[in-house]
Amino acid sequence: MTGYMTRNQTIFRYAASVAMALVLSTQVMFAAPMKGELVVAVAQEPQDLAAQGAYKEVNAPGLRNVVETLIAQDPVSGNLQGVLATSWKRVDSRTVRVTIREGVVFHDGSRMDAAAVANSINWVWSLKNAFTIQEFAGSGEITARVIDSSVVEVSSSEPDPLLEFRLSLNGISSSKQIADNPAEHFSKPVGTGPYTFGEWQIGQYWTANYNADWWGLSSDDAYGTIKPDWTSLKFVFRSEDSARVAMVQSGEAQIAMFPSSDECDRAKKTDGYSCITGPSTTYLYGRLDHSLHADERLKDPRIREAIFKAIDIAGLVDLVGLASVPPGQLGPKGTVGYNPDVTAYDYDPEGAIALIAKAKADGVDVDGIKIEVVGRSSTPRIRPTVEAIGAMLNSVGIKTEIKVQTPQEFNPRVRIAGYANEPGRQMMQVHVKGNPSNDYGLLLQSNYACPSIDDPTGSSRSSVYCNEAFDAELANALKSTGEDRSAKLRKLVQTVHDRHLIVPLALLDRGYLVEDGIDFTFGSDHRFQAVYLGAAQ
């Protein structure tokens, strides 16, 4: 009898504790999506929702619905247009004078005037702060000062033809919040946009609600193709591709970010949703160690050309999927400095074999070369890509070692602070790089200029190439503007192509599964903005 009582007590305790866990847990419930809510299944949760993150849409999806910039790039034309700025004018090579839109208020009720804008810019670009936008948008501190209540003067510490573009990257957020509660600046954005921040359920989603007081509703020159017509926006975090796709297929979400090429093909045969794709500004490339801390044999132009000739770029594009063959440079047509004479490197394995034989005949120890082909695990389809490159190099007689490394392992190895510790290296890093600025200046500086480890930003640069003459020409080009700048950059683009420093492997497209009946206009920066995203007419 005692035994039965004991067992029953145990079962009761067990059932009670499970029931208590169920009750406690169900108290934290979230409302189901309502009519009028746009649900977007995104690939990753934002690191934070600070206003500076407006530059990185893929990492902070949807933020520009809440936080606006002074200037923005039109997704269709690519031209810069005013958002919170009504106009802007160059004062000199370092300075732009910006006229601020009047009558706009932040979501916390504070005024968006010149003082607020200046505070916001100084906060984001201050070198004392370490916002990631500074790494992304290039060196040079930006400061702003108030001229009058609706005009600010924005200056760069260095001559900067891209200053207007840089102003299109950072969001303007409430100075009141920064003063009163700076910690919330990172998790509860207060901007001026067509949606106000709702909530951020860590690990789940973040939401924004329609702002009936948005300035754009009563303005003739508001940006966007439509007035926002969703009552709320919900960005749901789903890192698994299949889970995002399933959300659209089951009707839980209207848009899923970055489906695989197979999912896009399948969507063509399915009613209810379709796959739309568009080019991005992101390139997959191979960067071969050159002069900095590299094996001396990799300076031999024949070896380098042979390695580049051995790579079947078109084949790799097919392998990667949702991509196209890039020109032999890291920027699309229309980019300042784009060189139409520079085309993709030819695939010529026989030519590669001949070059290697010639180098060998001249005494180069080709047999001792072993290229370490390394990709970062977070890059899409990286394993088959590096394996294919390895096989291509093997086929012309170059030994290889294939590696896929985690970001923690890989990232330090592509920055001078890391690879300075690897003398005699023979690495081809297979990596991705965006070039959203429509200008080759920043790209050449960060990818090809000889970085000094003592330079404040030098240790985090990625270039493997050191050539004083090239650096001098680049410094000269960066100070110039207009056609002069284009011509100088074009010449430099030709130079880096001829020296076989980086082989562009694919221009990556990005795709979305979109429920039928929704128009989604996006540019190469792929932003989810409600003013470009509405019900089809």
């Binding site: 169920l22 370490a130 700076p182 749901v236 889970a243 399933a246 404040p456």
Partner: protein, 320 residues
């Protein structure tokens, strides 16, 4: 020393070893400040973090500080917004106490693990008992096949298949997220597959042994009803291996929920561990693993103590 006290002290020691291992491992994989802030961090930001987090102190001092804070319930502060470190602001203002973050996630993990257990325990025992009571029957063969499938199936694949079937094809259940009872069904089923299989296998084999014992034959000869023999006599006596297995599986549910939480975007401690690993948020990694380790140790302790209820004649620890 009484057995109970000895087991508790052993458990505390085991927890301390686990926590110490995580602490030192986190510092052996490179500069913690650089890992947390990333290679793009400025020297000023790195130095600020090192000062605030005490990373410039000798390792033994850091360890003693950590253990000292741990005893007061302070597991540190999460630098979730670490990539945007602003020296002008006290990092402690930006950070959140990690213990609060972990405790916020625990109910979701308990809900998921509890739901999986609610399914797995009765179903696994029922399947095992049914198979043992009818050896070599069709029911036995089906249970054997299903339990083998449950143990062998890859959770990732099963989760996606359940999503395709119940969310996409039938439209009955949500694909994931945390929003109520209907949201827990698919992740709980995915998580329950393995414990159902293991509990069924162990129950079947222990019950078959038990049902072959003389006292069962005696009970049958006395005309005791079969279900009473099976469920009241044999099952009770076969309980210890089954309870041990349930304890093991409960621990596995707490730690093994990581993959399921990721597939279904279930905001529990498992997803938090993945999230904190991807952000190299060292204090949060340490706290999450410490809390999960503590839970596993507590579950194992409770399983040990529960033996006395099932076999009062067992006096644990005596004779050593």
């Amino acid at each position: 020393m009484p057995y109970t006290l000895r087991r508790i002290l052993n458990s505390i020691l085991l927890l301390l070893v686990t926590i110490s291992f995580v602490f030192f491992a986190g510092r052996m994989i490179g500069d913690p400040a650089l890992n947390m802030l990333g290679p793009g961090a400025t020297p000023a930001a790195l130095e600020k973090l090192r000062v605030v987090a005490g990373l410039n102190d000798p390792l033994w001092q850091q360890y003693l500080h950590y253990i000292g804070r741990l005893l007061t319930g302070d597991l540190g502060v999460s630098y979730r917004f670490g990539f945007s470190v602003i020296p002008a602001i006290d990092l402690k203002e930006l950070g959140q106490p990690v213990i609060n973050i972990v405790l916020e996630r625990l109910p979701a993990t308990f809900f998921l693990a509890g739901s999986a257990l609610v399914v797995a325990v009765p179903l696994g025992i029922f399947m095992g008992v049914t198979a043992a009571a009818h050896p070599r029957s069709i029911a036995d063969r089906i249970v054997t096949a299903l339990s083998l499938a449950g143990v062998s199936v890859v959770q990732f694949w099963l989760g996606l298949m359940l999503i395709v079937l119940f969310s996409v094809q039938l439209g009955w259940l949500p694909t994931g997220g945390y929003g109520g009872f209907q949201h827990v069904i698919l992740p709980a089923l995915t998580l329950a597959a393995r414990p159902i299989g293991r509990i069924a296998q162990v129950t079947r084999s222990t019950m078959m042994d038990e049902l072959a014992k003389p006292y069962i034959i005696t009970a049958q000869a006395k005309g005791v009803q079969n279900h009473r023999i099976v469920y009241h006599h044999a099952l009770k006596n076969a309980a210890i291996p089954i309870v041990t297995m349930i304890g093991d599986e409960t621990s596995a549910l707490l730690t093994g929920a990581i993959l399921v939480e990721k597939i279904f975007a279930w905001p529990g401690v498992g997803l938090l561990i993945i999230d904190s690993l991807s952000r190299s948020d060292l204090p949060l990694i340490q706290a999450s693993i410490a809390v999960v380790a503590a839970l596993v140790i507590i579950v194992n302790l409770l399983v040990d103590f529960s033996y006395r209820y099932f076999k009062p004649e067992i006096i644990l620890g005596r004779g050593r």
